[in-house]
Amino acid sequence: MKRPYLWIVVATVVLLVVLAVVGFRFYSFRARLTPMSVHDRVTNVVQTWGRMQVLPDDKQELEVIWAASGPQFEFYPYGAQDLTEKLHQEFRESGKAVLHFTDIYASANTGGKVKTVDDLANAVRQNYRPQ
């Protein structure tokens, strides 16, 4: 390969890397521009996860939300894992994992303590460590 072409390739790669970094930073920055409490962010995630038309109520049980409007597979572990994954995406700036899916209460996981939307919002808030 001739030297000018090599430089073009290198410059293109560097440009793409810079754009990717700036894009990611800008995305995170934009997310931070709109302040929202942990509780509100969690209820938004639950609404999307449970495919709900309206925001969930704090007292609603996650397992009941899933049964009423969620996709048709097991709430535990798969629904709980999906919710945990969505929360990790939403709170990706947290230095600590905001939740472990085994913390979520289900008929098939009675050791979990996170049963309602309010429990979930509290658990996430207690573990959220923005970096």
């Binding site: 049964a67 996709p71 894992q81 999906d82 472990h100 899916f101 085994t102 050791g111 303590k113 573990n127």
Partner: protein
Amino acid sequence: MRFGKITGRNNILADSGPVSCSWRVVFVVLLFALNGAPYADGEVSAACKEVDYKIATPSLIAIKCEEKDVSDLVGKGQIYDPAVGLSVPVANVSAVPYPAARKWLVLQLSSVQAPDSPYSLQAGKKYKLSVLLYEAQNPPPADITPTAFDLDVSNTVVVGAAFAVSSKNEYEFVSHIAYKKGPHGICQLQVEDFAGKTTLLKAHDCTVPGPISDPTRIRSATDLARASESPEDIGSFSLTLDESNKAAQDLPASVPSLADIFDKPVKLDSKSQLLIEKAPSTKDASNYYVNFNYAAGRGSKPGWVLDAKISPTVGRLFSGYQFIPTALADIGGNQIPNLKYTDTINMGAALAHMYQPNDILQGLLFKPGFTYETDREFDRNNILATTDLQYRFVNLYNPRQRRSAAKFATELKIADAKKIPWTRANSKPVLFGYALDFHTGVEIGGALKDTVVKASVGKAALPLPTYNIARVVPQVHGLLEMGRFSVDAVGTPRYLTTAENTVLERADHSLFLKRLHGWNAFGVITGSWSFDPAGHFSLTLAYKDGFAPPKFSRVNTVQSGITVKY
């Protein structure tokens, strides 16, 4: 206690009918006239039913409402000092939404004499609030009634264990009054036993997530939201004890250097206890199945059969994938000629992730892994790379548990509308449930080395040469439930694309080598009757028929026994 607005059909006065309405109006007017000031201990529609409050600064209070969204409400009111009297307000109150939290309002206190000057609450006192709330985009209704609300400015702190069980030894110290400062990183917690002897417990990860370091600089709701996006973080302090508190009777007494906005060290609620948190039990988070049976066939003496599965979820999610080590066994003793259990032991691990492709195929479980496949005699040594895809189509996953929960959700909506308290205990579970799912998979690998297979009785032995394995494994799984009775059926028509070797035993215990290829199907139908409502313990009757790897010997058996599932 409620803050409230009165609008439309929610208007209590209107709901009470014209006669009672006029009586109430007369009563309210008289009350105002007699008191000279509008402190009313009345009730209104639930524009904001208060569930929590935070005193962020001496002149700013955040109120949490039970309603989902109060971000369109504003209001005006007064605050009263009961020690002075309820006829003269000590300060004016203006209410605005908390900018970052839709369930919260911010109440700003200002002096009655000089409305531009903030009024400061005094530590240790109790106050009563009276606020008129209305929608910001509409003018305040003429017939609006204020609501009374009590405010306690003592700094008692409640200690509670963190919600998530994975957060072992983590505690949150919650106060209605904001913390000004607190330890960060490593700290100590002073505990006290019943004799009054104090001990310092070491802790780490100590943090005040929403400190109000300088209350004089927080002058508005916007300033407050900037200081703490989550109002729940105001008056919150958390720590993680280095070691579990072994003496459960020790009471938390204080946290050195933790102070509130009034510069007073916080006092912990004497009723608070450091409840010992259980570590996440593997069993709780796991998937266990143990089925112990007697196997019986025509003209044969019964033998025992253990059909067990252990597949705990280990570690955390990695990009949505969960690591699951698996051990499966279908083994037994007193083997019955011609009527056998599968004599299979599988050990391995897989990663699993449920994708959600579309509204028709709502779940697609992708489960790649590996398996070591052998038998009770360990004379098979097959290593396999496996991939299983499970398809969950719309309307095909409705077991009783899910249908009962969905029924409860519908009932709850109606009960909420009619203000009837309703819990899952009130809801009768549905009688029928069903599930149907489809799998496709591949098993690719080979027998590791030549082995010698011995007969179960006698000295006959035959070498088993190595071979390659390439199987296509479709599967259909169906479940039908009626009350505590259920029928579960699994059909696995396994196709061997390459010839596999197996050594089989005749009735006279002589051995012969057989090469297998093509379709080798295996099916299981299990009827269960569960003893407990949760279905953890059940009486089962299973019929197995077909050919299962690695032996592929003909199985045609009925097994009955007790099953434990967790």
